[in-house]
């Protein structure tokens, strides 16, 4: 009973903060709701034995990406979008309709992935099905990422380098006589 209650609270926290990101009028509140959402998801990841991913979620997202968002929000004057009127008011309803349809289709597909691929062996259970074989430890994750997945892991370093250079190149300033100032 406590288990069901705490899981429901966790789900409500994650979904409620996600809705907060979407509906908040103030952009700073959106970023703060995103932090709540990321912490709730980190707890969910811990329940799935993904220890390293949960820690990286808090460090990378809540620690770095959201701070970057807050910097950009303050740089672009937080309440500058309050004066505009919507030139396409019908887009909001169509967007809500499309998002609802997407949610229903996704839920149907994921439910199908669980219940129809199992061919009558009953619904699988995360705790029992693989007990002992897989513990989600950091050691197992490290062996996977530095063994079987070494090449994709090295490629992420290249992607981060591209991101770094792209951020510098996109915001270089034009000086006088068209000379680029770095």
């Amino acid at each position: 009973m406590i288990e069901v209650g705490s899981l429901l609270i966790l789900g409500a926290l994650v979904l409620g903060s996600a809705l907060g990101v979407v509906v908040s009028a103030n952009n700073v509140y959106c970023a703060l709701f995103l932090i709540v959402n990321l912490f709730g998801l980190a707890i969910t990841f811990l329940l799935l034995n993904a220890v390293f991913i949960a820690a990286a979620q808090v460090l990378i997202y809540a620690g770095a990406v959201v701070v970057l968002f807050l910097f950009v929000i303050t740089l672009l004057s937080a309440d500058a979008d309050k004066i505009s009127t919507d030139p396409h008011p019908w887009q909001r309803n169509v967007g809500l309709l499309l998002a609802g349809a997407l949610g229903i289709v996704l839920a149907y597909l994921l439910a199908g992935a669980i219940f129809f691929s199992n061919e009558g062996r009953g619904s699988p259970n995360l705790g029992i099905a693989n007990a002992g074989k897989f513990d989600g430890s950091v050691e197992g994750f490290g062996r996977a990422i530095f063994g079987q997945f070494l090449f994709p892991f090295e490629l992420t370093a290249f992607i981060l380098l591209v991101g770094l250079i792209g951020a510098v190149v996109l915001n270089r300033q034009q000086g006088e006589e068209g000379n680029e100032r770095w």
Partner: protein, 102 residues
């Protein structure tokens, strides 16, 4: 045993992705749209981890890790583009950017 039921995690993931997609479609502030894209990526990560645990190997966690690094790089480049686009403008609104409209 609800805590081991994959339907909870996958349902949460589907709803999170749908909420993020709705946010991208509804909101007109590019920064909030970017935050909603992060929501969608996190929903996908949750599904990856759930299926990884169902299969009983580390592949799901490796995929989630790669998604996180790509999301970080994407946020950096995207925010740089947003700054370059909207710093000379008055309003932070995606409808402002219509120079290519015929």
């Amino acid at each position: 045993m609800v805590i081991g039921n994959p339907a909870f995690y996958l349902g949460l993931s589907a709803m999170l992705f749908a909420i993020g997609a709705g946010g991208v479609l509804i909101r007109r502030n590019p920064l909030v749209m970017f935050m909603c894209i992060e929501l969608m990526l996190n929903g996908v990560n949750l599904a990856f981890l759930t299926f990884g645990k169902l299969w009983g190997n580390n592949d799901g966690q490796v995929f989630a890790f790669l998604v996180m690094t790509v999301a970080a790089a994407e946020a950096v480049v995207g925010l740089a583009i947003i700054i370059a686009l909207f710093r000379p403008r008055q309003r932070v609104d995606v409808d402002e950017v219509d120079e290519l409209k015929g």
